[in-house]
Subunit: 157 residues, 2 copies
DNA sequence: ACTCCTTACTTGAAGAATCAACTACTCAGC
DNA sequence: GCTGAGTAGTTGATTCTTCAAGTAAGGAGT
């Protein structure tokens, strides 16, 4: 067993920041969403991804991809959203295995009243804290990390 | 109600990346930990933070801070870790309300066999994907975001 | 020394996420 | 037109997290 390639101090520091970010950021956002809209971030994300799609409709599997979620998780959540009347499911006409999820008018309305507060919270938390140049840097530096995670996700060892 | 300060395209792009990262990164790490050590990332993080402390011991509240967790969550997890024999609790001598958590020899040994594989996974996922210059940029740009989250956490509106 | 507030932590119940089946459909090859 | 492999989605059980109490000790003021 070869000597592991340990992290440098700077790498370790960054790693702890990334871990901290993935621990704290969702909580921080969800506090606002929960308080103002009785919704969690994932549910919001699902509604948002539907609202941007043609006909406010996506296949479940497509929606799972765009929300970075498993089909199982999505299925449970869409069941909840359906109960609230914000989403409806329907059979896909061209593929008998597939299911469409569609944002209802009520769901769209919910999103419209929720979005401003959510965006404001995001802005205060993230974008008021960094410079436009840093936005560019982060976009550039985070992309390869996401690609790398995605590669491993698609081709697990 | 004033017009909300919507996000620019670049900001939106970054926000989606940050959300994606906090969704996918923990899973990616945990897959390896789960497979190789039957442990999740939070448990690993708890053991790691203990291993670095003097006497491998920390107060629960201190440990909660260093793992970005609530005391409640930590308490449940330490109970599990205690059952596995990796951590022990003891009363704090100077403050009757406080509890020490100490990493046992077994816990330290567990960490020692787990660390190389974990570090390797982190390296492959993160540091093989970006340049040393990007490590610096990310460290610099993520810091104010974490500070901002932390401020809101301490002084909720 | 007694009230009252805060801190430190634990606990049990409730809600959400994951995991491991399972159903149902599609499609490629024979 | 079967068979088998893969795809799409659902479901129920288990596990984890969060939430809302609760206990118990410290500490400030009186």
């Amino acid at each position: 067993m070869a000597e592991p390639r340990w992290l440098t101090d700077e790498e370790r520091e960054l790693w702890l920041k990334l871990v901290g970010l993935s621990m704290l950021m969702p909580n921080a956002v969800e506090a606002q969403l929960k308080r103002d809209a009785d919704m969690n971030q994932f549910e919001y994300h699902v509604l948002a991804m539907l609202s941007e799609a043609p006909n406010r409709t996506r296949l479940m599997s497509d929606l799972a991809f765009h929300t970075n979620s498993s089909l199982s998780r999505l299925s449970h959540v869409v069941s909840r959203l359906e109960k609230q009347g914000w989403v409806v499911r329907s059979a896909c006409e061209t593929d008998g295995r597939a299911t469409n999820a569609t944002l209802t008018d009520a769901g769209f309305a919910k999103l419209e009243v929720t979005a401003p507060g959510h965006v404001e919270a995001v802005r205060e938390m993230i974008f008021d804290a960094i410079t436009p140049a840093q936005v560019k840097q982060l976009n550039a530096a985070l992309q390869p990390i996401l690609d790398s995670i995605d590669t491993e996700r698609r081709a697990p060892k």
